[in-house]
Amino acid sequence: MAKRVAMIAVAQNAGTESKDNFYDQAYRVTKEVLDKAGMTRDDIQTIVSASSDVFHGGISCANSYYWETTGAFLKNASRQDGESLFALFYGAMRIMTGHYDTALVISLCKGSENPPLDTCTLMYSDPFYFRNVGLTETLAAALQMRLYMEKYRISEEQCAKVAVKNLRNALGNPYAHKKGRFTVEDVINSERIADPLTEMQCAPKSEGMVATILVSEEKAKKYTNKPVWIKGFGSSIDSYGIGDRELLNGQLRQAAKRAYKMAGIKNPLEDIDMAEVTEPYAFQELLWCEDLGFCRKGQGGKMIDSGMTEKNGEMPVNPSGGVLANNPYVSRGLQRAVEAFLQIRGEAGERQVEKKVKTALAHGVHGFAGQCHAVAILGR
């Protein structure tokens, strides 16, 4: 990259239902990230937020409502609607223009207050066709899972193991919404809501204000001796029509390729130390890991069996518990970057992986069955 951009501080709130008002919760997280960076509101030059209009919040033009709480009024600010990892990219790009040295990136979502997730995701379906057939994010994922299991002989047990791992990892994450020690049988025997998906293989609906502060390379030294650099990012979008797509051959491979090229990653398994991926449905962690190049195509089941993606494995994936443990819908991608930041700095507390983390990957996804993927490479 032409100009380097550093993440210097992060803040987030717990995913469980809180009594907080949206406005106050966003304010507290903004205040916390400024305090951690040693900044005041005046030090921030530009702000990029991520939130959903109406659906995941109940307010339209929600950004006009929350500009005060994010410290943005009287400043330059805009909102990314959709996956929040893009807000990180846009914040970095603003600094790369050379016109700004500091940016606040914040994603806002208070899931506990919202309708059930699929009430919202049914509205992503077009009203002419898909909505009338009942296409939700869950149905799309269930169809994708069926294809994945049959094509590559991935077992129900292997898919369930992702939920077992992530909910166990979440025991070390004070921000996680769902956590616990469960067995593969617990996961498989939970309510069969959209076979082959069972309830415990689907992410919950969580709260999450998630923030980070970005600074230019010139200013980074002033604020921190532990900058985390944004080394590369990439994204790619597939067709909207779920029937038009090859659901097992999506765009994550392309998004990762773009990010790896920018970051100079040649061999992801060697060059990346850990990953935080967005897996709203358990089996997707396996499929996404294949596309990220952590194992060969169709080998996601063997990968989870090998223990490679465990917290102390060769490639820890979602030591935070991932999205199955905490799903602040819009904020989930940026939260992956925040978790990766903490791992790189060695500040992830009980969820810190044993191996030294120099380079980490954060992944975000939105749309049905991974229509749109975003990948960020962060590092020391």
Partner: protein, 153 residues
């Protein structure tokens, strides 16, 4: 759940009236006549269904309309057994991706015509690769649910 703090219950109802446009209108008029229309891309020659104005891959106009087969192969399915607002029918139902014969993309619809009450029985019958056939409603409204479901042949 009972909360120890005050909350406000709010609901947003927003009426919209969206244009089907020429292509969707013709496709849904076809539904009323028990016909499934697709069209062929002049560049990649793929038959896409439902019919559409342009090929998303080649980005050229789609002009050659074809009536496609009402039979096809089951590609993927999900036995959906939970309630959500706006669902097409009371649960359980089976959402299915179907490759209609002679077409090059999958068609999303429902699989029915069998007893859906017991999942264990359903999974003995429903298998990817099985042949399916459209079953039409008698009361058709130029709507995607003019096809009631696809049933095993």
């Amino acid at each position: 759940m009972t909360k120890e703090f005050r909350t406000v219950k709010t609901e947003i109802r927003l009426p919209y009236e969206l244009a089907y446009g020429e292509t969707w209108t013709r496709f849904f008029d076809g539904m009323q006549e028990k016909k499934i229309y697709g069209n062929t891309c002049p560049k990649c020659n793929r038959v896409l269904v439902p019919a559409r104005a342009f090929c998303p891959r080649c980005f050229v106009d789609m002009d050659k309309w074809v009536e496609v087969s009402q039979e096809g192969t089951l590609i993927a399915w999900s036995y959906t057994n939970y309630k959500y607002y706006g669902m097409p029918t009371e649960p359980p139902f089976i959402g299915a991706l179907i490759r209609l014969d002679g077409t090059d993309v999958n068609f999303l619809h429902l699989l029915g015509g069998i007893d859906l009450s017991n999942f264990e029985e359903v999974r003995k019958i429903v298998k990817n690769g099985m042949k399916l056939k459209a079953v039409w409603s008698d009361d058709r409204k130029a709507h995607i649910m003019d096809i009631k479901y696809f049933k095993p042949v």
